[in-house]
Symmetry: C2
Subunit: 301 residues, 2 copies
């Protein structure tokens, strides 16, 4: 892609993210009942949730809901639930016993900020609150139960991915590339897939639309992590806002480690195409998701 096109795609992607991301930020700040928590726990929970990030998962929920004919407002509690799960997972993954990260989004991680006991408990709280958000939704009960199912499955698979990533235990009868895919599809892909499906469920989408958004979510989910792998080798800590170069330091298997930078870029392009192709049944309603995917694909350029 020529650099002028890349710049344009970046501009479009940023614009597409800004609206749902701002909606999410406002919802997380004001629609979640932090004040009923003890102040120190509320502080920790807010610290783990409100510190920024692009809010890619809730953006996917909201845009998927709209792509399937729903309203962004109706998807907000589900989007918040998914973001709370994501934030819980970051808080726990950063713990000394796991990834032992001290920096996240350019700030001290929660266990550095508030201590390890508080980080464990605030993480637990965020996960429980995520499901509480779904239960409070003003939506047909059968949709709510479908959302609970998606969120629980996605969270389970994410934990499986984190276990594979930090504790090993991958099946040994599959190729190295399949092993990496298994880690990525669980650790990152499961929640991004769930995001697209939850958005579709909020819209009351037909099966064909749910299927299209599922395929899109799976391709984008894997692509997102391959991009992350690539950023880990090509960019600085300052630029990314968290420690980079850790994958290779830890001897973790990654796409660039196995396929090189160019090989990984080819995989990203391929997944990008798969994601875009999956959106065809949605016609023009899928355009924002198409632009978002393009933006996510070019983060590495």
């Amino acid at each position: 892609m020529p650099s002028s096109q890349a710049a344009e795609a970046t501009q479009t992607g940023m614009e597409i993210i800004t609206r749902p991301s701002s909606m999410m930020q406002a919802y997380l700040e004001s629609s979640i009942d932090w004040d009923r928590l003890p102040p120190h726990l509320a502080d920790a929970a807010r610290y783990g949730t409100l510190g920024g990030g692009k809010r890619i998962r809730p953006v996917l929920v909201i845009l998927s809901c709209e792509a399937a004919g729903g309203r962004a407002e109706d998807a907000l509690p589900a989007a918040a639930a998914l973001e709370l799960v994501h934030c819980f997972s970051l808080v726990h993954d950063d713990l000394p016993a796991l990834d032992n990260d001290v920096l996240r989004r350019g700030q001290p991680t929660l266990h550095v900020h508030a201590g390890e006991p508080m980080a464990i408990l605030a993480g637990d709280l965020l996960l429980a609150m995520a499901f509480g958000e779904l239960a409070r939704m003003d939506m047909a009960a059968n949709r709510v139960t479908a959302l609970v199912d998606e969120l629980a499955s996605g969270t389970r698979d994410m934990v499986v991915g984190q276990v594979y990533d930090t504790l090993g235990g991958l099946p040994t009868d599959i190729e190295a590339l399949e092993q990496i895919q298994l880690v990525h599809r669980n650790k990152t892909g499961a929640l991004l897939r769930a995001a697209c499906r939850m958005g579709a469920i909020c819209a009351g989408a037909a099966d064909a639309e749910i299927a299209a958004l599922t395929t899109y979510g799976e391709a984008v989910g894997l692509m997102f992590q391959v991009v992350d792998d690539l950023l880990d080798v090509t960019q600085s800590t300052e630029h990314v806002g968290k420690a980079t170069g850790k994958d290779s330091a830890l001897g973790k298997r990654t796409y660039p480690g196995l396929l090189g930078v160019e090989g990984s870029q080819a995989v990203i392009d391929q997944l990008h195409q798969q994601a875009v192709a999956a959106l065809e049944p949605l016609d023009s309603a899928g355009e924002p998701l198409r632009d978002l995917c393009r933006y996510m694909a070019i983060r590495t350029r």
Copy 2:
């Protein structure tokens, strides 16, 4: 109570617990899809769940469901969900950064058995799986969403209680006894209350029955923890199956610390009476819950 009556109450209580407790154990062993997890994660999750205990929370779910006219079978997934939450909380509370316990039900705690990273992640998994159990229920969707709401609220309050207990932060403008109650009602009481309410919801109980079982659950929930406080000072580690005498060693405020053994016993008797009185609207259907409460009250004698 003369010792012959106490012996009879113990016998009756054991009999009442045995049936629902065995049903729960069988369900946890065979109806939860442990095998779809990576083997080492499945081992850890099973270790944290299947190690025994009286299963008081699921017993309360099942007996409350029956007291409100429902069938035990219909309440099993909700009972399992609550037990998974309880087991997750034990795994995390035992962690070195929190209570740092090495013994639970007479066995090494999960982080001793499988390492701290696995204990954190397996705990997270159990919490996610709990909500997954609810989503899979073959029950009217509005009941399922009510169950999700109860479980999420109960878990949130339990975490609040654990934060108060291990990290302090209690309101200082209330009496010492109120402070202890606030810890106990959250840390232990919230899930026991939720158990009774979830059982009632599974039975499709009327509001008056739900209210009766809520009051019962609140009284039993606080009583359970006062009994636990008392056991901590009167019984040995060997007898209880976990470390005792820790409360006073840690300088934690407890009922016996504040009211003495006899004063605590008087509180137990009072809560016992409150719980039994709450069951009156249920007539004879409440008898098993009455017997269970009597059994729980005399654990300290």
